[in-house]
C-alpha cells in the first residue's frame, strides 16, 4: 500500500503496514495496527497524538528498539533502503551506528553521570572508528552552539542545565552524520524559553546537515513549528496525514478536529467559551477495536463507521484522512456558548489574600538562595491570579508560602481577610487551613496510593469541614458529582484511575472544605490535551459555583490566559509585571513577558514577536545587580539597567511593571517585531 504521494528513490524512512504487539502475560496485545508513512530525505515529519496512541512505539519499532516484550508482527520499516525488520543483530548495530540517531525526552538519563561530557562526545566519534575524536567533539559541540566547548567538555552532565544537556545529546546524535534523526519529545521537560532555543537549533541543524527528522511530540505547537508534514495517530493507526500547516489549519479527521479544539487557543477565555473535550476515551491496549478506531468518540459516526473500516481518503494534495465522512467535517458542532455561563461572579474588589513584602531565603550549603524577594500581591475574591515564569522564577515557592508549607522571611506577611496568618500551617487556625487548599501538579504523588478515593475525600471532609458519618457520605456524593466522579470510583485506589480521574479526586479533596483560595500548581501539565480541557472546564465551573479564588501556576501561557483574570510574571523571585490577563498578553509587555510569549510554539503558526532569551535563568543565590533581568534582556540599556533596580509601578490603570523603559516606548518597540529580531540576535 502506498500512503505516499510520490515514490522517492530511497525514503529516509518508510514504514509500511507496521503491526506491533506487546506480549503481556503471554498474550500479545496489538499496539500498532498497520502504521504506514514515509519520511522523505531531508524532510521533517511529525507524529502527534495523545499518550498511548503508539507514537513512541512507532519510532522504537522503526529502529527495532522495542522493549523485550515487543514484537513486530507485520509490515516493514525501511531506513534508507534497508529493511530493518529482517536485519541481524550485527547489521542492525551498524545501521544504528551510521545512519540513524535518536534523541530521547530526558537528556539527563541519556548521558552517563559518571563520565565527563568530553569523554562521552568523543566516544560518539571513536565508535565510528574516526581519529581526532577530540577535535571533532569540540566541533560538534560548537555546532550545537555551545559557547566555550572546551570548558563544557571538562564538566559532568549534572553540572549542565537541561537545555545544555539536550544540546550535548543532539551533538552526539549528529556525530555519525545520520540520514534520519528521531526526536522523541525532545523538549518536553524544558522551559518554553529553552525549548524555543533547542527547536531553533534543531531547525538550523536540519538545514546544515540535510538529515530527515522524525519528531514525536504531544505539543501540537512544536510539531507545527518544526515539521513539513504531520501524521496524526490514534489507537495505533495514522488517522490523518498531510502538510503540517494544512492539517492544523484545516483538519480533515474528526480526531484532529477534536484535538485542536481542546486547546485553549490564543485569546480564548473561560468567560467566552468552554473548551471542547473529546467524549469517551482512548481504547486500551489490546482491546478489540471497531471498524473505525475512533467511532466511539466521534460526533459524525454513522452505521457505516461500525461495519466498514474507513478507507484512506485523499483530501487534497498529498493529504489523507482515514474517515468515511471527510466531507462532513464542518458539521462537527462547536461547543455551545451558554449565555448563563458568561456571567462570572467577580469584581468584588476586596482582596481575600494579600502578600505583604514576602521574601523567602533558603540556605543551600551555607549560601543564601533568594527564592522570593519583596513580593506584594493581592488576590481578590473569586478571581484567578495566574503566576508565570520559567522554572526557578519562584512560582512554586510563592504558592508554598501562601499555603504555609514554609514560612516567609522575617518582615513578610500572608494576610487572609485582614488577619495575618502564621508562617507555617501548624501555626494556623483550622479556619485558615480550610480556607487555603491546593491541587498538586502530579496526581500520582498527591494521592496516597494505599487509600481509596472514598477515604481520601471523606478524611478531607472530616478534617477541613468537620463533617462525618451520613452527612459526610452525602457530601462525598455531591462533591463527586461536582467533579464528575461516579460512585463506582469511590472504592478504587488511585492506581486504578487514569490521570484525569486522579486529578479530579485531587480537586474534590481540595474543595472538601469549601476553600476560599485554591492554589493550582500546574494541575494539567501531566495530562493529555483532551483531559486537560475537561479539567480546565471543571476548574472554571467550580470557581463559578463556589466563588473560590485561584492562584494558578502553569508554564503553558495559553492555559494561564484561558483561566486567569490577572497575571503576575515572576523572574528570580520578583514580580516583573502584574496586570489584567488581557493587558499582560496584549501588551505592551515587560521585556521578559515579551520573551516568554514569543517562546511559545503556537498551533496557529505566525508568532507575533520573535525575541529569544539568551542562556538560562541566573542563580538565585547571586542575583544580578540592578534589574535582575538585565543579563538576558533584549532591551537592555547600558548605564541604567545594571545599576538601578526598577520599581514596580503602575504604568496603566491596574497594570504594574518593573522596567526602566517607559511604557510608551515599549509600545512602540513591541509594535515592530522585525526590527527587534535583528537586534536580539
Amino acid at each position: 500500500m502506498s500512503a505516499m504521494p510520490r515514490e522517492e528513490q530511497h525514503a529516509a524512512l518508510e514504514v509500511e503496514g507496521l503491526d506491533v504487539s506487546y506480549i503481556v502475560r503471554g498474550v500479545p496485545r496489538a499496539v500498532l495496527r498497520g502504521v504506514s508513512f514515509t519520511v522523505a530525505p531531508g524532510e521533517a515529519y511529525g507524529l502527534v497524538g495523545e499518550s498511548g496512541c503508539g507514537k513512541s512505539t512507532t519510532a522504537f519499532a522503526a529502529l527495532r528498539y522495542l522493549p523485550r516484550n515487543g514484537r513486530i508482527t507485520g509490515g516493514r520499516a525501511v531506513i534508507d533502503g534497508t529493511d530493518v525488520t529482517h536485519l541481524s543483530a550485527g547489521q542492525l548495530q551498524r545501521l544504528r551506528a551510521t545512519r540513524v540517531s535518536m534523541v530521547y525526552q530526558d537528556p539527563g538519563a541519556a548521558l552517563n553521570p559518571t563520565l565527563r561530557i568530553g569523554t562521552q562526545v568523543e566516544e560518539a566519534f571513536t565508535v565510528l572508528g574516526q581519529s581526532n575524536a577530540r577535535d571533532k567533539a569540540i566541533a560538534a559541540l560548537d555546532r550545537v552552539r555551545i559557547a566555550d566547548p572546551r570548558r563544557v567538555m571538562e564538566r559532568y552532565p549534572h553540572q549542565l542545565s537541561g537545555g545544555m544537556q539536550q544540546r550535548v545529546v543532539i551533538a552526539m546524535a549528529l556525530a555519525c552524520d545520520p540520514q534520519l534523526l528521531v526526536l522523541d519529545e525532545p523538549t518536553t521537560g524544558l522551559d518554553a524559553t529553552v525549548e524555543a532555543e533547542v527547536l531553533d537549533l534543531v531547525q538550523s541543524l536540519r538545514v546544515d546537515t540535510g538529515a530527515a527528522i522524525l519528531l514525536i511530540a504531544h505539543n501540537l505547537g512544536v510539531i507545527r513549528r518544526m515539521c513539513d508534514r504531520v501524521g496524526v495517530m490514534y489507537a495505533g493507526k495514522v488517522v490523518e496525514e498531510g502538510p503540517a500547516v494544512e492539517v492544523f489549519d484545516n483538519p480533515k479527521h474528526p480526531y484532529t478536529v477534536g484535538l485542536l479544539r481542546c486547546l485553549p487557543r490564543r485569546g480564548a477565555r473561560r468567560e467566552i467559551r468552554r473548551l471542547q473535550t473529546i467524549p469517551g476515551f482512548l481504547p486500551q491496549i489490546g482491546e478489540d477495536l471497531p471498524a473505525c478506531v475512533f467511532v466511539d468518540r466521534c460526533q459524525l459516526a454513522t452505521e457505516v463507521c461500525r461495519t466498514d473500516p474507513p478507507p484512506l481518503v485523499a483530501v487534497g494534495d498529498s493529504r489523507y484522512s482515514r474517515c468515511h465522512h471527510t466531507d462532513r467535517i464542518d458539521e462537527i458542532p462547536e461547543p455551545a456558548v451558554d449565555p448563563q455561563e458568561l456571567q462570572v461572579t467577580r469584581q468584588e474588589k476586596a482582596p481575600v489574600l494579600s502578600l505583604r513584602n514576602v521574601s523567602k531565603t533558603f540556605k543551600q550549603s551555607g549560601q543564601p538562595v533568594f527564592a522570593l524577594a519583596d513580593v506584594d500581591l493581592d488576590l481578590r475574591a473569586g478571581e484567578t491570579l495566574g503566576l508565570v515564569g520559567e522554572s526557578g522564577s519562584g512560582k512554586t515557592t510563592l504558592a508554598k508560602t501562601v499555603l504555609g508549607i514554609h514560612a516567609p522571611d522575617e518582615g513578610g506577611a500572608v494576610v487572609l481577610d485582614g488577619t495575618e496568618l502564621g508562617g507555617v500551617v501548624t501555626q494556623r487556625s483550622s479556619e485558615a487551613k480550610r480556607a487555603i487548599q491546593i491541587v498538586f501538579q502530579n496526581p500520582d504523588s498527591a494521592l496516597n496510593r494505599s487509600h481509596s478515593v472514598r477515604y481520601i475525600i471523606t478524611r478531607a471532609l472530616k478534617k477541613l469541614a468537620g463533617i462525618t458519618g451520613h452527612e459526610a457520605e452525602r457530601r462525598l456524593d455531591s462533591l463527586g458529582e461536582q467533579v464528575r466522579l461516579t460512585p463506582r470510583h469511590f472504592d478504587m485506589k488511585p492506581a486504578q484511575l487514569s490521570g484525569g480521574l486522579k486529578q479530579r479526586v485531587s480537586i474534590a479533596r481540595a474543595f472538601a472544605g469549601e476553600p476560599r483560595i485554591v492554589v493550582c500548581d500546574e494541575p494539567t501539565s501531566a495530562l493529555d490535551v483532551s483531559v486537560q480541557a475537561a479539567i480546565l472546564n471543571l476548574l472554571a465551573d467550580l470557581q463559578r459555583d463556589e466563588g473560590s479564588s485561584y492562584i494558578f501556576i502553569s508554564h503553558d501561557l495559553n492555559v494561564v490566559r484561558y483561566l486567569s483574570d490577572r497575571i503576575a510574571v515572576l523572574y528570580l523571585g520578583r514580580v516583573m509585571e502584574l496586570g489584567p490577563a488581557e493587558t499582560v498578553f496584549n501588551g505592551p509587555h515587560h521585556p521578559y513577558t515579551e520573551a516568554l510569549l514569543s517562546a511559545v510554539p503556537s498551533v496557529e503558526g505566525q508568532p507575533s514577536t520573535r525575541i529569544r532569551l539568551a542562556g538560562e535563568i541566573p542563580s538565585a543565590s547571586a542575583p544580578p545587580a540592578g534589574c535582575v533581568f538585565h543579563t538576558r534582556c533584549p532591551r537592555f540599556m547600558e548605564g541604567v539597567c545594571e545599576v538601578e533596580v526598577p520599581p514596580l509601578v503602575e504604568v496603566e490603570p491596574g497594570h504594574m511593571m518593573a522596567c526602566h523603559i517607559p511604557i510608551d516606548e515599549l509600545r512602540v518597540l513591541q509594535a515592530r517585531p522585525q526590527e527587534m529580531d535583528a537586534g536580539a540576535t
Binding site: 503481556v24 498511548g52 473535550t277 473529546i278 467524549p279 469517551g280 476515551f281 482512548l282 486500551q284 491496549i285 499555603l403 504555609g404 508549607i405 500551617v425 501548624t426 483550622s430 487551613k433 487555603i436 487548599q437 491546593i438 498538586f440 502530579n442 504523588s445 498527591a446 494521592l447 496516597n448 496510593r449 494505599s450 487509600h451 478524611r459 478531607a460 478534617k463 477541613l464 464528575r484 461516579t486 463506582r488 472504592d491 478504587m492 485506589k493 492506581a495 486504578q496 484511575l497 487514569s498 490521570g499 484525569g500 480521574l501 479533596r509 472544605g513 483532551s530 483531559v531 480541557a533 475537561a534 472546564n537 471543571l538
Partner: protein, 302 residues
C-alpha cells in the same frame, strides 16, 4: 453537566475488576509473582518442612527424643539396623528425633523476637524519618552506635546479667534488632515524606502520629515485610548461638543450638553426627528464610 470526557479508563495495566475485590486481586497478583520464583518455592518448602516438624514433633519422630538408651551411646548413623538413622548422642538419644523435635522452640521464639524487633524498629524509623531534625540526628547516632556492637556478644552479656529465660531472650534479641530495622524503615520514610500526599495531609491539619501511621506506614509495608523475614533468619541464628553458649533456650529442650553445645566437645573423638545434623538444620532454616526474603524483596519492591 454535559461534559463528555468523563469516564476516562483506568491506565493500561490497571486491574479492571469489581472494585470491592481490588485489594484481594492485588494480593493474588503478588502471590502469583512469588510462585514464579524458584528461590521462594525452595525456601518455602524447607520452611514448611521444619514448621511441620515443629508442630507434629513427637508424632513424626521415630524415637522419644528425651529417652536415653545406654546400649547405643554414640551409635553412628544407621546403627541398630537403621533404627537410628542419624545415630545417637552420648546418652543414646536418637539424633533424628532430637533434630525433628528441636525445631519447635527456636521456631516459636525467633519469629516473636523478630516481630518485636521489627515493631520497635518501625516505630523508631517512622519517628526518625518523619520528624528529621535534631531528633533524627541524635537517634541516628545512637542507632549507629548500636550497629557497631556485635549483637551476639551484647545479647550474651545482657542475658548473663539479667538471667536467662525465654522472655528475656525474646526481649534482648528484639531490642538489639530494632536499630537495624529502624535504619531501613527510616530510609523508606524519607522518600515517602517528600511526596505531595504527605503535604496534603499536613495542609488539612493531620498531626504527626496520624500522618506516620495512617498515611506513610501503609506505603512502606513492602520493605518492612522483607525486613521481618530477614530478621527471622537472623533471630534463628542468634538464638541458636545463644543456646549454644548456654544463655538461650534452656535444657532439657532438644534445641539445635543446645544439642551442639552439649556434644561439640566430643567431635574430636569422631562423633561428628551429633553436631553435624543440628548444624545442618540451623543452616537450612536460615538459608530458607533468606531465600524467601530475597523473593519477597524482588516482588514487593518492584
Amino acid at each position: 453537566m454535559g461534559d463528555p470526557a468523563l469516564l476516562e479508563p483506568p491506565p493500561p495495566g490497571a486491574i479492571q475488576v469489581d472494585t470491592t475485590s481490588a485489594r484481594s486481586t492485588a494480593r493474588r497478583e503478588t502471590v502469583r509473582l512469588l510462585m514464579r520464583r524458584p528461590e521462594f518455592l525452595i525456601g518455602m518448602g524447607i520452611l514448611l518442612f521444619w514448621v511441620t516438624c515443629a508442630i507434629f514433633g513427637e508424632r513424626l519422630a521415630p524415637h522419644d527424643p528425651q529417652l536415653p538408651n545406654p546400649l547405643f551411646s554414640h551409635a553412628p548413623p544407621g546403627s541398630d539396623n537403621w533404627s537410628y538413622v542419624l545415630g545417637t548422642d552420648r546418652f543414646g538419644r536418637d539424633v533424628l528425633s532430637r533434630v525433628i523435635v528441636g525445631a519447635r522452640d527456636v521456631l516459636i521464639v525467633a519469629p516473636i523476637a523478630a516481630l518485636l524487633g521489627v515493631t520497635l524498629g518501625t516505630l523508631l524509623g517512622l519517628v526518625m524519618g518523619y520528624y528529621r531534625g535534631l531528633l533524627d540526628d541524635v537517634l541516628s547516632r545512637v542507632v549507629e552506635a548500636f550497629l557497631s556492637l556485635p549483637v551476639t556478644l551484647v545479647a550474651l552479656l545482657t542475658l548473663v546479667m539479667l538471667g536467662s529465660s525465654t522472655k528475656t531472650v525474646v526481649l534482648v534479641v528484639g531490642v538489639l534488632f530494632a536499630p537495624i530495622v529502624a535504619r531501613t524503615v527510616r530510609a523508606a520514610v524519607l522518600s515517602e515524606r517528600e511526596l505531595d500526599y504527605v503535604q496534603a495531609a499536613k495542609l488539612r491539619g493531620e498531626n504527626g502520629p496520624m500522618i506516620m501511621t495512617r498515611e506513610i506506614l501503609p506505603n512502606i509495608t513492602g520493605p518492612i515485610i522483607v525486613e521481618l523475614t530477614v530478621r527471622v533468619g537472623y533471630a534463628i541464628f542468634t538464638i541458636s548461638t545463644l543456646s549454644f553458649l548456654g544463655v538461650g533456650i534452656q535444657p532439657p529442650s532438644p534445641d539445635w543450638g543446645l544439642q551442639i553445645s552439649e556434644e561439640y566437645s566430643m567431635i574430636i573423638n569422631g562423633y561428628w553426627w551429633t553436631v553435624f545434623f543440628p548444624s545442618i538444620a540451623i543452616a537450612s532454616v536460615v538459608i530458607a528464610t533468606n531465600l524467601v526474603a530475597d523473593a519477597l524483596q524482588s516482588v514487593l519492591q518492584r
